[in-house]
């Protein structure tokens, strides 16, 4: 099992008092599988992804990745986890503006010391961004940026990909093609993919579908 959430709860303190975003979540994700996480705005999809990505810590329960509870790791441990085991894809793409597309794609892999030119060349080929390598992120369209972001994530060979509304800023056609590409690539690399989306149509493309409602998983 790549990702295993057990009884995970998370609340935030706000000016009006604590808000419970997640309560007792149980979720499992195996290698090669893709799971769609759906639910309305504010249902806790992003929070769940942040917990799984080691960006945040759960209040209760455990988040295990490859058998290790990442909630127990310290700051450095979680940074190492993010660097080596997980890939994050965001709605806003979050490319690094100061370096070229090529440097962006290889960046995470180099940080993880897993730079593999062949694999990267293959990715670039499949993503169809070969002609963009010398450009800077701001010179790309939204679809192109998201392809680069996916390339950056896959180039580092994570075992788990977490995608938060990756097509949210794209039109339907572009979004579909980007999602198809992402699914194809993660299957090819035999990765686990957890994707948050509010679109049922997109969710249906994935292996499984989980609905979040009121901080709980409802079938």
């Amino acid at each position: 099992m790549i990702l295993e959430l057990r009884n995970v709860g998370k609340s935030y303190s706000t000016a009006e008092g604590p808000i419970t975003v997640l309560k007792a979540i149980d979720l499992r994700l195996a290698r090669g599988k893709s799971v769609a996480l759906t639910g309305e705005s504010g249902s806790g999809k992003s929070t769940l992804l942040h917990l799984a990505g080691g960006l945040d810590k759960p209040d209760t329960g455990s988040v295990r990745v490859n058998g290790r509870d990442i909630g127990q790791l310290d700051d450095s441990g979680r940074a190492r986890y993010r660097r080596l085991e997980v890939g994050l894809v965001f709605q806003q793409f979050n490319l690094i503006p100061s370096i070229t597309v090529a440097a962006n794609i290889s960046f995470h892999a180099r940080l993880a010391e897993r730079y593999d030119p062949n694999w990267e060349a293959e990715l670039v080929e499949m993503l169809g961004v070969a002609h963009l390598l010398g450009r800077y992120p701001e010179q790309l369209s939204g679809g192109q940026q998201q392809r680069v972001a996916i390339g950056r994530t896959l180039a580092a060979r994570p075992t788990l990909i977490l995608a938060d509304e990756p097509t949210g800023n794209l039109d339907e056609a572009t979004g579909d093609s980007v999602l198809d590409l992402m699914l194809a690539l993660s299957r090819r690399a035999n990765l686990a993919l957890l994707l948050a989306t509010h679109s049922v149509r997109l969710a249906n493309k994935l292996d499984e579908k989980v609905v979040l409602r009121g901080g709980m998983i409802s079938q």
Partner: protein
């Protein structure tokens, strides 16, 4: 509606108090330094013009002798009898003991009220002023100094400048031994129908009143210097304001959007923002003027010491609140705020109502700007070189300085950007490569602060090098110049004559220090006579001269001139100059004469006595074995009866000279340091501004597995690297600046040229100070980054921003 909208706009500052403080501090510091410097200048200028109008009656027209020799009293009487309303003045320097005072002898009966030099409150009664023992009208300070050294009754007139005394013309005639030769005639408003001056007194020329006086033009260079520093500091301060206003606009974009979408027009939004800026400018302007007042009050005693030391002018150490500086200070605050905010306001106008609130990525756009700036910089540097080669005069000198500094500053961003590009291409790892790329991307936001820093650092290195070079040369020169072990001044000619009889046998040699005054090459200067003594041959600091110049001086009609006179005229070695009285002497040498604003001539003692028999023979330098100095001093006091205050030893003279020297540059040093501090603050506020914009850029890196403290450390390294690069750039710029100061500005301003000496240890000290400032400037932003709440980083990834 407007009130509500304004309230919303203004609430920003409640959330960002530090930004508010930065903005206000920026304007206040810029205004403070500017108005402080202007306050000093205004005070000094007022005091010169007061001194000129009081001492030289500069507001009134005057008649002076065509040949510069003085005016016989008979010419005065002739003019009066022809109906000319003129009033005579006899003036000159007179020594009371060791205190030299400028005597201005006036005829109170004919002097127009404006020329009397004292208000009605200080008017003497005629009998006391003009008869019997007479009276000296002096300032409080001068009275204190003259207490006990003169028998003449003193009367205090608060309007008078220091070191000057008004007295009756009859007594001035006696004290200065002029035998009725007048220095000049003041011209009162005339009745019409007078005979022409040429027909009554062809030997006189008319000089109309209100012309710029000597002192003011003499000290122009000093004030230009201060103004340049003030302006530099002001510009540096504006960088702070620019970044703070930019940030406050940037962060309120979504607020602007909201306000406009609920129906606030662009005009009223702009008006509200203008009103806000106006309030802030007023508040910080007032703070700045207060700061300027404090600064000027603190520096003024130093400035007046400087002016006294360099130019012999007297400026009071207290400051008055003159509208010419506080009003312009406030004006500069408004102006500066307007300039700094104009770009942001313009952007507001161009912004569509629903523009995205995303931050801009201006790296690409600014490449072109950087290049254009660099071209401008190169052009300025070229202009500086041309001006240095071809230009003349003080203004050209300062233009070279300005072009050099601004040109270098404009080139800096390109230089840094090129450096980071090279560093990026040389770096292997993705991470270091990213680091340099990212640094380069930060440059546009930091370049203003870095340019400010470059200006401040180069100014420090340049002025520091100039002052240190000056100090080294000056101290060496003092050792040469002050060769005699004791300097004594007799109180009267009779005492001087006794002294001349008493000294032989008690000292190795007696060196008369006698001088006359007169016009040479159009300047009113002092003419010294020197004895034919080995002391001069061994010690006198000669710059240029024939090997046998001392023999020629002793036996022939020969003269030495000081460097100032030499540089200011076309008189070279071997040429003849005409000395007062119409005789000619051959120039056989040029000597250095630092600290003296005027020209000077040295002739043989025999020539002095022959041509100027009326010269006072009161002062002497005495050569004695160093171990006998104290004993001789005691004998002079106890046996001979000379007051102790009329004896000065070499060591204390040197000490005084050194004190004057250090004071002279204390102000420059203080301004230098303050400019550096402002540049540091500019850097700090830029870092703070950027750190707010940095989170979106850094959050993905954090998501990819970098720790917050890694990111913070990188920011520190980046800042230090940029500071270091700027510092490296500042060294050559500073050295060039020093060269310009020493080789061009000083020659124009003071009339002497000094050899340049380089003091790398000073740079190290400055580098250390700069490093500390760098670390301080980055401290707050970095602390913030290192401890940032992950929730803030997560917000970057939130789907709605």
């Amino acid at each position: 509606m407007t009130a509500a909208a304004f309230n919303v706009l203004f609430s920003h500052w409640r959330y960002r108090p530090l930004q508010l403080v930065t903005l206000i501090m920026g304007v206040a510091l810029a205004t403070g330094l500017w108005s402080g410097v202007q306050a000093i200048n205004a005070e000094a200028r007022a005091s010169y013009s007061r001194a000129a109008s009081i001492l030289e009656q500069a507001d009134l027209s005057q008649l002076i002798a065509r040949d510069g020799e003085g005016i016989p009293t008979s010419v005065y009487a002739r003019l009066r009898r022809a109906g000319w309303q003129v009033s005579p003045v006899i003036e000159g320097n007179h020594r009371f003991g060791t205190t030299s005072v400028r005597l201005i002898g006036i005829d109170i009966l004919t002097m127009p009220e404006e020329g009397r030099g004292f208000a009605v409150s200080g008017s003497p009664d005629l009998v006391a002023f003009a008869s019997g023992q007479g009276q000296l009208l002096v300032s409080m300070n001068t009275a204190a100094r003259l207490q006990g050294v003169t028998q003449i009754p003193l009367r205090i007139s608060p309007d008078l400048p220091d070191d000057a005394a008004f007295l009756d013309i009859g007594m001035a005639d006696r004290l200065l031994a002029r035998n009725g030769v007048l220095s000049r005639l003041i011209v009162a408003p005339q009745n019409p129908g007078l005979p022409a001056l040429e027909s009554v007194a062809p030997e006189l020329v008319f000089k109309s009143g209100g012309q710029a006086n000597d002192v003011a033009s003499l000290t122009d260079s000093f004030h230009l210097n201060l103004t340049a520093f003030g302006f530099l500091a002001f510009v540096v301060g504006l960088f702070i304001v620019y970044s703070a206003t930019g940030l406050s606009f940037e962060q309120r974009r979504s607020t602007f959007r909201t306000l406009r979408s609920v129906g606030v027009s662009l005009q009223s939004l702009t008006l509200m923002l203008l009103a806000e800026l106006l309030m802030l400018a007023l508040l910080s302007g007032v703070l700045g003027v207060a700061l300027g007042y404090v600064l000027a009050s603190t520096l003024l005693p130093g400035v007046s010491a400087t002016l006294r030391g360099l130019y012999g002018t007297s400026v009071p150490g207290s400051l008055s609140l003159r509208p010419e500086w506080w009003a312009t200070g406030l004006g500069m605050a408004f102006f500066g705020t307007a300039v700094s905010a104009s770009q942001s306001l313009l952007r507001l106008w161009q912004m569509p109502i629903l523009a995205s609130a995303q931050h801009r990525a201006w790296a690409m756009a600014s490449n072109a700007a950087t290049f254009i700036q660099a071209v401008g910089g190169a052009v300025l540097l070229g202009a500086a070189i041309l001006l240095a080669l071809l230009g003349h005069g003080l203004v050209a000198g300062f233009a070279v300085l300005g072009s050099l500094l601004i040109g270098a500053a404009l080139l800096l961003p390109l230089a840094l950007s090129t450096t980071t590009m090279i560093a990026q291409s040389l770096s292997r790892g993705a991470f270091t490569s990213w680091f340099w790329a990212d640094t380069r991307q930060q440059l546009p936001g930091l370049s203003l602060a870095l340019m400010a820093l470059l200006l401040a650092l180069s100014a420090n290195i340049g002025v520091g090098t100039m002052v240190s070079s000056f100090r080294q040369t000056f101290l060496g020169w003092l050792d040469q110049r002050l060769a005699a072990e004791l300097y004594v001044t007799a109180r009267t000619e009779e005492e001087a004559s006794r002294l001349r009889d008493w000294l032989p046998g008690r000292v190795r040699s007696v060196l008369p220090v006698w001088n006359s005054e007169g016009e040479v090459l159009g300047q009113q200067i002092q003419i010294f006579g020197v004895a034919d003594d080995a002391t001069y041959r061994d010690h006198w600091p000669i710059l240029l001269g024939a090997p046998d110049l001392w023999d020629m001086l002793a036996t022939k009609d020969a003269a030495l001139i000081n460097e100032q006179l030499w540089r200011g005229s076309d008189v070279g070695l071997g040429k003849m100059i005409t000395l007062p009285g119409g005789w000619e002497a051959r120039v056989v040498g040029v000597y250095s004469d630092y600290g003296n604003p005027k020209g000077q001539v040295i002739i043989g003692l025999g020539s002095l006595i022959a041509h100027y028999p009326a010269t006072a023979k009161l002062r002497y330098g005495l050569r004695v074995e160093p171990e006998r100095v104290d004993m001789l001093r005691r004998q002079l006091v106890d046996d001979f009866g000379l007051p102790d205050e009329n004896i000065v030893d070499q060591a204390s003279l040197k000490r005084q000279s050194r004190v004057v020297f250090e004071q002279t540059f204390a102000v420059t040093g203080a301004l230098n340091l303050l400019t550096l501090a402002v540049a540091g603050f500019a850097m700090f506020s830029s870092m703070l501004t950027l750190s707010g914009q940095r989170l979106p850029q850094l959050a993905p890196l954090w998501a990819m597995g970098l720790r917050r403290r890694d990111l913070a450390l990188l920011e520190v390294i980046r800042t230090v690297a940029l500071w270091f690069a700027t510092f490296l750039a500042a060294v050559p710029v500073g050295l060039l600046l020093a060269w310009v100061l020493l080789a061009i500005v000083n020659v124009e301003a003071f009339g002497w040229r000094l050899p340049m000496t380089v003091f790398p240890f000073d740079w190290l000290k400055l580098g250390a100070v700069a490093l500390v400032a760098a670390l301080l400037s980055v401290l707050v932003p970095v602390r913030r980054l290192a401890t940032v709440n992950p929730a803030d980083l997560l917000r970057v990834f939130a789907n709605e921003r």
